[in-house]
Amino acid sequence: MEYKIQDVEKAFEGEITERLGNNAYVIKINDVEHQVKILTMDSRGIEFILDQKYHKVKYLDNTTNEMNIVIDNVPMTLNMHSRFDEIVFKNSGGGATGNAQLSLKSQIPGKVVSIAVAEGDSVKQGDVVCTLESMKMQVSVKSHKDGSVKSIKIKQGGSVAKGDVIAEIE
């Protein structure tokens, strides 16, 4: 299997090469072998000793291809795909990221203090779209891309939850 880690350029090829029994394994990562001994494990987390060093890992949200994990308090995101997947992905035009996305979503919950744009306005990336209030502070929500405001999904004085769509920008 091939692994990509967010913010890390290098790709990793990894597999189990030996099952030693008694919860011990040999794992090969980019042609280097490592000793692994599992101490505890369930679907949400694992504790193991990798080459004499203890690690505690929590598995947060996982999809088939993406894992959000916390390693010794450091959050990390992994993408996994077999070589075959990668070829399909590239051929289907994949590779461009988020920018194609329509919806501007709120990263925080809060009360809508003011809305700075109207439907049909054109906006540049970084322009303020609205102002939210949360924890006694006012926070600006900025456009994630250049485009024009197709629709506004919030109302002044209303509340938004984390992840709610604020506007569609196209």
């Binding site: 692994y3 880690i5 890390v8 490592h34 929590k58 916390v70 308090n73 992994l78 924890m135 006694k136």
Partner: protein, 495 residues
């Protein structure tokens, strides 16, 4: 003698007060909003009363409701903590009228401290130097523009009812001033229900240095040394330390004497803080008095050995201070990091929600004041301060390395925190060398350096992450086998 204290607050400061009361055999009364049924202060107090809806105006700022609980619970004193009603002189007066011992200054003194302009005049009279600015409240945005142009940009717009960095904006030109005037007004109204603005010269490359004041009801006053709180973001303190690397004993004594004068000038009683700006040329300018126990008081407790809440209770009981200035000596070095629920990379936006898991750091000379526990929730209705992590050392280096260890051990699942930012700051040579100023973050490009650190950390952990991913799929594969076969590697010890 105070026997039962109502704590008109929530979060870590309510717990802080409960802890000392408990040890002294004083009963405590907690109050809580709809949002706080499951909060730690409810669990730890002797008694707990529900006082209303989540919004502060409907609960923690609701004076009548809190008074009701004081009377029905038989509390003989109230501790306001910080924020909420702590600097509301109407509330202090309400307590005085109802013969409830308000643990803090008198309503009159609080009123004077809170009125930044009258306070400033009192200081000038007492020969305590202050920052250039508007001689009083500005009527409107036009007057603010005039003054700003007279003293020269950049200037600060401050709501006199603000505090703790809220209701304050730095503006560098007329356009920003017009915008800021509106924001400060609305933030102040939303936080405390009123607003009134002053204009002040903004001094560049300044340090924020404050002194702990302490004065009893008999007029005995001392200072309990300084704290340097220069690591800030938009006037919100992030990291505090004591002693300040630029305050030697001579300076400490000299400014300390001014602080005692300042306390006398406003007839201050109980514990409070006199805040100063120190310009790059070493001058100190008084900015304001915080008429309450301050967030960052633990570091002063660490170097003085005193329990400030006990001291507050003793003063409120009318006892004379048990020491004189010459009896007090600083011992060692202390640092505080304010662990906030905020996303450094999202312009420090608040991050709220459930915290399914948390690991609180511990160890010699580590103190963590927090309301967090596994399964708690960080509420969007209140302050983003989740924990105050403090460490002490015989040397500055000792307190710094202990803090790094503690930050590494601190794990809060579910919300973004300022922990990674502090790790980066504490590792910089600039911080180690004490090159502090209120624009530290911008001046030393900290956010970019944090990004770099996080990336390196991820690279360092790459192989562990891949190993964890491989084992995760092995686990599920073996569970699928389990359900069809009887023989499995995981059979014996793994869930």
């Amino acid at each position: 003698m105070i026997e039962k204290v109502l704590i008109a607050n929530r979060g870590e400061i309510a717990l802080r007060v409960i802890r000392t009361c408990q040890r002294l055999g004083i009963k405590t009364v907690a109050v809580y909003s709809d949002e706080d049924y499951n909060s730690m202060h409810v669990k730890k107090a002797t008694e707990a009363y529900h006082i209303g809806e989540a919004a502060p105006a409907k609960s923690y700022l609701n004076q009548e409701k809190i008074l009701d609980v004081m009377l029905s619970s038989g509390a003989d004193a109230v501790h306001p903590g910080y924020g909420f009603l702590s600097e509301n002189d109407d509330f202090a007066r309400l307590c005085e009228k109802n013969k409830i011992n308000f643990i803090g200054p008198t309503a009159d003194s609080m009123n004077l401290c809170g009125d930044k302009m009258r306070c400033k005049s009192a200081m000038l009279k007492a020969q305590v130097p202050t920052v250039p600015g508007s001689p009083g409240l500005v009527k409107d945005v036009e007057e603010a523009l005039n003054i700003a142009n007279k003293i020269g940009y950049p200037v600060l717009l401050k709501s006199v009812y603000g505090g703790g960095g809220r209701g304050i904006r730095l503006v560098t030109n007329d356009k920003e001033l017009r915008e800021g005037f509106e924001t400060v007004t609305s933030e102040s109204i939303s936080a405390v229900g009123k607003s009134a603005i002053i204009v002040e010269k903004f001094l560049e490359k300044t340090r924020h240095i404050e002194y702990q004041m302490c004065r009893d009801k008999h007029g005995n006053a001392v200072h309990l040394f300084e704290r340097e709180c220069s690591i800030q973001r938009r006037n919100q303190k992030l990291i505090e330390q004591t002693p300040s690397p630029v305050v030697d004993q001579k300076t400490r004594d000299r400014i300390g004497e001014l602080v005692v004068k300042a306390a006398e000038a406003v007839d201050y009683t109980n514990l409070g803080t006199a805040e100063f700006l120190r310009s790059d040329d070493g001058e100190f300018y008084f900015i304001e008095i915080n008429a309450r126990l301050q967030v960052e008081h633990p570091i002063s407790e660490m170097v003085s050995g005193l329990d400030f809440v006990k001291l507050q209770l003793d003063i409120a009981n009318g006892e004379p201070l048990p020491f004189k200035q010459k009896d007090l000596k600083m011992n060692g070095y202390a640092i505080e990091c304010r662990i906030n629920a905020e996303d450094t990379f999202l312009d420090f936006a608040p991050s709220t929600g459930p915290v399914p898991d948390v690991t609180i750091p511990a160890g010699p000379n580590v103190r963590c004041d927090t309301y967090l526990y596994p399964g708690c929730t960080v509420s969007p209705f209140y302050d983003s301060l989740m924990a105050k992590l403090c460490t002490w050392g015989q040397t500055f280096e000792e307190s710094r390395t202990r803090m790094l260890n503690a930050l590494n051990d601190f794990y809060i699942q579910g919300v973004e925190t300022s922990i990674p930012l502090y790790k980066t700051i504490l590792e910089t040579d600039e911080y180690k060398n004490g090159q502090l100023s209120t624009d530290f973050l911008k001046r030393f490009n900290i956010i970019e350096r944090l990004k770099k650190d996080l990336k390196e950390e991820k690279i360092k952990n790459s192989e562990t992450a891949v190993a964890a991913a491989i084992l995760h799929s092995e686990y599920f594969k073996s569970r699928i086998q389990n359900s069809t076969q009887s023989n499995s590697t995981w059979k014996n010890k793994l869930d």
